[in-house]
Amino acid sequence: MLPLHYYLIVSAALFAIGLAGALTRRNAIIALIGIELMLNAANLNFIAFWRYGSRPEALTGVMFVIFSIGVAAAEAAVGLALIIAIYRHYKTTNLDEIDSLKG
């Protein structure tokens, strides 16, 4: 099998791409996609560490990723509902224009 750090570096690159997208894009949906990419990078890390860990038969990494996928699905549903509600109110999904709470 390949060494562990190959997977870790791929995961780090995916995390950085998601972070860059979440920080730079103006569309709220794309920012949410960036957050999803960061969550997926963390999941890849969990699986890689589980695979190369000392007790893979304990299934801890697999369990954590299954629960993490569930939490991410709930987060995506609530986040997209919030974006749709904001769009109804402001008629835009541009994050720079949603600044009512800005002093």
Binding site: L4, L8, L14, I17, E36, L37, I47, A74, V78, T93
Partner: protein, 193 residues
């Protein structure tokens, strides 16, 4: 093994970059599907079959469709003219590169890099189910409750806001003298420096 890994890495990372940088939102969603599928292939390569198929089922099947629906419901007419990046995009790119550099540096300096993979253990769905029903039964219940609450919450948040007349009819306790907050979409924008 290495060839598969390289191909998967290229597909996953290039489609992730495309999903973050394309102008057309639907193209972004399609590239995101490709990224999720590449990650599922990584899970299969790491011998975590159940997680790989769960990834395809949840992300490719549900989350991507949800994102496409949200994109179609929030379609902006004049989105093709304006810039897609925020004014301070340079800070975001530099920050992401710094984070990437820090993570890679710490990975390469770690002693864990040289740890060999242990013997191939086949993870059956039977073992996962047994663990879910014995050791992890409390987290399973909590995640079920969380998903239910998130579903109800998403429906309530995305419901139509009642207009002022219908809310006064439905809610007689609401005093008509309460000053209504003007809709910010109708107020002309005044940009303060």
């Amino acid at each position: 093994m290495v060839t598969t890994f390289v191909i998967l890495t290229i597909v996953t990372l290039v489609s992730a970059i495309a999903a973050m940088s394309l102008r057309n939102l639907v193209h972004c969603a399609l590239c995101l599907v490709l990224t999720f599928a590449g990650l599922a292939a990584f899970y299969l390569q790491l011998n975590a079959q159940f997680v790989g198929f769960a990834q395809i089922l949840v992300y490719v099947g549900a989350v991507a469709i949800l994102i496409v629906f949200a994109m179609l419901l929030t379609r902006n007419v004049d989105s093709t003219r304006q810039a897609i990046l925020s004014p301070s995009w340079g800070v975001g790119i530099v920050g992401a590169l710094l984070v990437f550099g820090a993570i890679v540096l710490s990975i390469l300096c770690s002693t864990m890099v040289h740890r060999p993979a242990l013997s191939e253990t086949q993870v059956t769905v039977l073992a996962i189910g047994e663990q879910l029903m014995t050791n992890y039964v409390l987290p399973l219940e909590v995640i079920a409750l969380l998903l239910t609450a998130a579903m109800i919450g998403a429906v309530i948040i995305a419901l139509h806001e009642p207009t002022s007349e219908s809310s006064a009819v439905q809610n007689p306790r609401l005093e008509p003298s309460v000053p209504s907050v003007p809709n910010p979409a109708q107020v002309p924008r005044t940009d303060h420096p």
